[in-house]
């Protein structure tokens, strides 16, 4: 009793001390991250905002006129090339998010539940599903570029089975399907591992209790697994959403943005504008707008789906 009281008292005093004086300890704890955060995230972000106010070319310091918000207004003035390219690629990005996020989450849950069972060769399969994730985007995209060729393996199989080949990389929506399949194959392992870890946290007692009450496996999944996964799923969905919004390598290699620029995503566009065309200011403005939009999406996502976690 006495020790508990003493402990409670000392906690109180530290809390009071924290309120009154400056305690450097917590700041020291976050310092390592803060340094990297400042150097590689905050500073580039601020610099990006600065850049977006100029017609900026880092190789031509002698010609760097201040243009104010023109780079932004260009994006919202219909008829300009920038607005046209920006919103077309924004649309393409949203299309890809719609294509890719559901399978990336649903299949990951499915795979994780499968891999969470006890069976022979479990580690082998866990490794196999995660392995593609370790590839570079180039390797993954080139493999699938080959597979999706008109004369490629997938079409040959489709023809042999009588379904008939398709022009995967040059018609819509086939190009999205191809890119989605490549992306799912490439990145599903990451989501699976996170969900798998969360699955292993769910107390076995819950399942035992449900089994005693006669709940079917399907009901156990719906009423135990999914609710228990909810916080992790919010994170997984958010990460997947952001990753999909950042799609670049796959269309860059598999479709070159085609057919007719319909798979030019927003990052692709920013790359073209900033690196290919050397219009850093305009590209920075695009980045900032995209970042703002993604921040809103993320906030909304956490607000609506993250609710139960707060309770």
């Amino acid at each position: 009793m006495t020790t508990q009281a003493a402990a409670a008292k000392s906690l109180e005093t530290t809390a009071v001390a924290r309120k009154r004086g400056f305690n450097i300890t917590p700041y020291l704890f976050i310092l390592p991250h803060l340094i990297f955060f400042t150097l590689f995230l905050a500073w580039p972000f601020v610099f990006g905002i600065y850049t977006s106010l100029f017609e900026y070319d880092f190789l031509r310091p002698e010609n760097r006129p201040f243009v104010g918000l023109e780079n932004y207004t260009d994006l919202f003035t219909s008829g300009t090339v920038q607005a046209r390219n920006f919103w077309r690629s924004m649309r393409a990005t949203i299309e890809f998010i719609i294509w890719s996020v559901p399978p990336l989450v649903v299949f990951a849950v499915f795979l994780a539940v499968l891999l969470n069972n006890r069976f022979r060769g479990k580690s082998f399969f866990r490794m196999t599903f995660f392995a593609p994730y370790t590839l570079s985007v180039t390797a993954a995209a080139v493999v699938w570029w080959w597979l999706f060729q008109n004369q490629g393996l997938i079409n040959q199989v489709l023809v042999a089975t009588g379904i008939g080949g398709r022009q995967w990389l040059s018609t819509m929506p086939d190009a999205w399907i191809a890119i989605t399949i490549a992306t799912v194959w490439w990145t599903i392992g990451f989501n699976t591992v996170i969900i798998l870890a969360a699955l292993q946290e769910i107390p076995v007692s819950l399942y035992e209790a449900a089994a005693i009450d006669g709940a079917s496996p399907a009901r156990r999944f719906w009423h135990i697994t999914l609710p228990m996964l909810r916080p992790v799923l919010v994170l997984v969905i958010t990460i997947t959403l952001l990753a999909s919004a950042n799609l670049f390598g796959q269309p860059y290699i598999m479709t070159a943005g085609g057919p007719t620029q319909q798979t030019e995503t927003i990052i692709f566009q920013i790359f073209s504008e900033g690196i290919r065309r050397g219009q850093m200011g305009s590209a920075a403005a695009m980045s900032i707008v995209v970042a703002a939009l993604l921040l809103i999406v993320t906030a909304v996502n956490f607000k609506f789906f993250g609710k139960s976690e707060a309770n």
């Binding site: 610099f47 190789l59 004369q151 850093m280």
Partner: protein, 520 residues
């Protein structure tokens, strides 16, 4: 309480992730870096001397494995032996190599990442061991070389001494202070080289009245044909004289009647280069003379696109998409003709049935889309420049070996040499016509990017893929967009940019502002 805290913390984590992905201009380069570095980066391999946005990555990296035997074998036999045996007097220009150039080491980058890169390395090594002035040339094939050059230029002392650039990039590289004009000292090493080089590639090495690059080669489309199929269809093989439209159409019909696919036409690069070829042959052009107006929605443009559409619909495959899938039916022995860049010689030349001919002349005058590799320097150091010029004059004397790698020598004596037909039959077939009719856009920064990926390419693909049917409307729309980009570029790089700014700064390579540092 704890749980309440967790939300903002997770949010913060998410925001960090987000920032990592989107922040600033530098953030965007991260993905490009990861895709660009491996050998197969699209722009790196389609080595035309021009860099369309679509490229030929995986197919070309596959080529790489196939052909070095052919090219490197060839490199050892030609003209090399007389030069090697210590007769510098044989080449008058080489004798003029000044003392300042002695013992210089030149790091030279290039976009040559395919088999041609191996050949360039072999030539550079040969020069380094054979030349009597102790000059060393280190060739570094650089995938995605434009990005690499930009990155290098952003930090001090990262640029190489010289780079083999694509002619289409010269204006932009010059305007962005990445390359330096050749000085009088170095040019005097080369002597009267102008008269011995193909005229248009030479002319296009000039920007704002300054000599920024010197052509080493140029390229033109090649009509690859299947000799066996031609024989089976009783079609006479073409020579070095381009076919007329009648001959071309008759051949296509005969081939089709013989039961094979007459010609393979894809989208993107393939149709875009055909479009530029035909519009010029019909008397039009994609831009006006000084590159200030997009003009590809002209009647000639419509005619060219209609012609390509008809060819593709009548004879074509369903080949489409990036990385040259249209070549595959030809190499698989299913299609009789494919018209493509000369860099495919290295892999298609391995096939027993491949023949080479110029692009047919379907309009009033001959023209063929092309590009050119040119040597540019990054330093105004006269010693370095002179050494580079010495290397260049040696290269010219040995450029038949370079032709074997799939490029047309810019040096006229090499092009007219009898060795060419034996060392590089494909190049020999197209060299005479391409020297006359090669199309290279005017030297305006960003012009190709404005008219090609932003301009005619989307229109061509939309028509060929059946997404649109009104050719005039599609070209009109894209022409207007291309014009906007051209105008923006003109504003940025200035028709009116003071000429003295690149020349005036002492070290144009090093950016004056240290704030440029955060860019990777």
């Amino acid at each position: 309480m704890k749980d309440l805290l967790r939300i903002p913390l997770t949010l913060l984590a998410a925001v960090s992730l987000l920032l990592a992905a989107c922040a600033g201009p530098s953030g965007t380069t991260a993905p490009s870096g990861s895709t660009a570095s491996p050998g197969g980066s699209p722009s790196a391999t389609a080595d035309s001397g021009a860099s369309p946005t679509d490229g030929a990555s995986p197919s070309a990296s596959a080529d790489t494995g196939a052909s070095p035997s052919a090219t490197s074998g060839a490199s050892e036999s030609p003209a090399g032996s007389p030069d090697a045996s210590g007769t510098p007097a044989g080449s008058p220009s080489a004798a003029a190599c000044p003392d300042t150039a002695r013992d210089q080491t030149i790091d030279m980058w290039s976009p040559l990442t395919g088999p041609d890169g191996d050949e360039m390395t072999a030539l550079a090594t040969r020069f380094s061991t054979e030349n009597e002035w102790g000059i060393t040339v280190n060739h570094v094939p650089t995938p995605d070389y434009l990005t690499a050059l930009q990155t290098a230029a952003a930090s001090p002392d990262q640029l190489p001494d010289a780079t083999i650039v694509r002619v289409i990039n010269v204006g932009e590289l010059a305007a962005r202070n990445i390359i330096t004009p050749w000085g009088a000292d170095a040019l005097s090493v080369l002597g009267d080289i102008e008269g011995q080089l193909a005229p248009l590639p030479w002319e296009r090495g000039e920007y704002n009245g300054e000599r920024y690059s010197i052509p080493i080669d140029f390229a033109g489309l090649v009509m690859y044909y299947n000799k066996d199929m031609f024989a089976a269809a009783n079609v006479e093989e073409p020579g070095t004289e381009p076919w007329t439209r009648e001959e071309f159409d008759a051949a296509l019909t005969a081939l089709q009647d013989s039961g094979v696919q007459a010609i393979s036409i894809g989208t993107l690069f393939n149709s875009a280069t055909l479009f530029q070829t035909f519009i010029e042959q019909f008397g039009g052009s994609v831009v006006n003379e000084d590159g200030t107006q997009a003009t590809f929605n002209s009647p000639e443009g419509v005619e060219a696109l209609e012609y390509i559409k008809t060819l593709r619909d009548t004879h074509g495959t369903q080949a489409s998409g990036p990385n040259d899938p249209e070549v595959q039916p030809f190499s698989a022995g299913q299609a009789a003709i494919v018209i493509h860049g000369p860099w495919h010689i290295s892999n298609l030349g391995q096939l027993p049935f491949t023949g080479y001919a110029p692009v047919p002349q379907v309009g009033d005058e001959f023209a063929v889309w092309g590009g050119s590799h040119q040597l540019a320097v990054h330093s105004d150091d006269a010693a370095i420049q002179s050494a580079a010029a010495c290397w260049l004059s040696w290269f010219y004397e040995n450029s038949v070996a370079w032709a074997a790698a799939g490029q047309i020598p810019a040096y006229t004596p090499a092009r007219e040499s009898a060795d060419l037909a034996t060392q590089a039959p494909g190049i020999a077939a197209i060299a005479p016509s391409a020297a006359e009719g090669v199309i290279i856009l005017p030297q305006v920064p960003g012009l190709e990017g404005a008219v090609w990926p932003q301009g005619f390419e989307p229109a061509i693909d939309a028509i060929l893929l059946g997404q649109e049917t009104d050719i005039q409307a599609a070209l009109d729309r894209q022409n207007a967009i291309a014009q906007q980009v051209i105008d923006q570029n003109a504003e940025t790089f200035g028709g009116g940019t003071p000429v003295e700014s690149p020349a005036g700064s002492e070290s144009p390579a090093a950016s004056e502002s240290p704030s440029a540092a955060p860019v990777p």
